[in-house]
Subunit: 379 residues, 2 copies
Amino acid sequence: MQKNLTPDKKDMKLKLSDLQEKINRLETLINTSMVFSSILDLGELLNIVMTKAEEVMEAEASSVFLIDKSKKELYFITARGEKGKEAKEIRVPMGKGIVGWVAEHGRPLLVPDVTKDSRWFKGVDKKTKFVTRSIIAVPLISKGKIIGVSEVLNKKGNRNFNENDLELFEALGNQIAIAIENASLYTELDELFLSSIRAIVEAIDAKDPYTKGHSSRVVEYSLLVGEALADISKDELKQLEVSATLHDVGKIGVPDRILGKTGKLTPVEYAYMQRHSEFGSAIIEPIAKLRELIPNIMHHHERFDGKGYPDGLKGERIPLFARIICIADSFDAMTTDRPYRKKRSIQKALLELERRSGTQFDPKLTKIFIMVCKRRKLT
Amino acid sequence: MQKNLTPDKKDMKLKLSDLQEKINRLETLINTSMVFSSILDLGELLNIVMTKAEEVMEAEASSVFLIDKSKKELYFITARGEKGKEAKEIRVPMGKGIVGWVAEHGRPLLVPDVTKDSRWFKGVDKKTKFVTRSIIAVPLISKGKIIGVSEVLNKKGNRNFNENDLELFEALGNQIAIAIENASLYTELDELFLSSIRAIVEAIDAKDPYTKGHSSRVVEYSLLVGEALADISKDELKQLEVSATLHDVGKIGVPDRILGKTGKLTPVEYAYMQRHSEFGSAIIEPIAKLRELIPNIMHHHERFDGKGYPDGLKGERIPLFARIICIADSFDAMTTDRPYRKKRSIQKALLELERRSGTQFDPKLTKIFIMVCKRRKLT
């Protein structure tokens, strides 16, 4: 301490600018941690984090690897910098190279000059044509387990990374690990939600051997159309998925003897059967977060010409997702056996969709469905 | 800049120790943000955050308030320090006092000496007997909206807070807001999961007018027992809740004519009815995260004396939660009308539980259920 109080001017100058630099970088780091922790989509989040990490570390490129335990390999989840795209396809065996060493030993590593380190694995540079000079790699540890590795490459201005840089990047590594953990927890819970409603809906489908697997196929077909739409967001695709999963949940309210009847339904029975779209809407009505999906379920039996049920809505007054589910629903009904007829071939079902396009179905969406179906068969 | 390079020794001394202190506190702040962002339970999380916040800020006490929009009030979600417990019951009107001012204006506030600030609201100190000298309060802002206020009280060693402290606490405030946002997103999704399976199960119950609302009452009764158990964790209570919600989901697989039959079931029909516990287990089997709950659903009709179904398990070989659900299930059946008999009074149903304790029901759990039922009626 005494030494600090009476330094000579040159030491003092060095010390001051060092400390000031450290403060600046710590402050950037704090701001970084603010930015990223509120995003729960892992890809989006890591992209933002690593942009900031490169800024703080003054690095030319950066990557995040996760461990694929079954294959004992590391794979890129984020690869930034000039050659990031090329890098992403490469998988690194555990224990191999700097990153593999860090993943295996769970310890951070500062390599000021990669050409002087025997662990250095030239494979990635060779494939990407990136020239690595200097690396800092830190293990990502979540609940005591090594889940991956984060690295920064080449300090800008032709400098090499040093011990101070290592210390900072370790702090950042801890944040990245937590961000990954949070995003995973959220994804797991989201999976639980979807798989639970899926499982129950499948049980409803399975009551009638003729509709076994129906809802999950309607989800698949609906998403094929959804994904082909321009300007559709991830959130909207999720809404489409949940709506399609639940489109027939109202069948819980239809008596077995009507649902499973092999003969022709009487008018009264048919009227009851039609009520499944209302029943479905009523079931999800109490769920605040699903309320906006009600129109998709309520109107999946409307017709484009206005002759459908329950409300006789016409054209684009029928919600977009209900129009999509309607096509998917009908296509699945056509291509599976029914008690009163054999299934149509895919080819014939597509022709039938075309025939009813503009009357029963939205013509634009029918065109998209036919296109993606054909393309999918060809690839 | 020039000035920094040729300071006199006294300035230098001050500057160096200031910078060093700032670095130390920034480093603590970074470590703090690492600790807290991985916890998604809001109460637990804020308690850890504010412990760290007090440490970094050298404060005697700290609180976090959230805004109750409907009542235009702020309420404590965390109140730490000597008088924290007393403080928690107090609600602060919007615009009132330092905290109310910050919530209304959305700007941070440093009050070095509260006695000299006209906004100071003495009400809380009066109730808690805490003596506030100095306050820093910062707004918690999530997605552009003010969601609450965080404050630290009294810098230790009889000092007052200054501008440097304010700057640090603002950074921490941003972290707290994000932590609250993350925890809320997680809670919302969790709610969505539970309310969705609840809604579908209620629709199954409603197929038979005699079992309307059955599953949600079984959840309620099961949790009454669960909460009375020593050493039960929040996670375990959640498992009990989900298991009880889904205990009859297998009824999807039982034909309506058996489920809704008003007369006595034939032996064949009864055998079919009994299969609902297996059907339920089969429905949730594909859901990885729910797999551990299968035994609770599979065995909720076992009897303590081994004469139940499907496996004739005996005593404590029946999973704990299945034994709890069994009591809750039977109690609800006794206290609701059935096609073949009127409902029993609660009093009589409890006597009946007691009579069957040790044969049909686990005696210890029966005792707990009767106790909580009686206590609940009295309060």
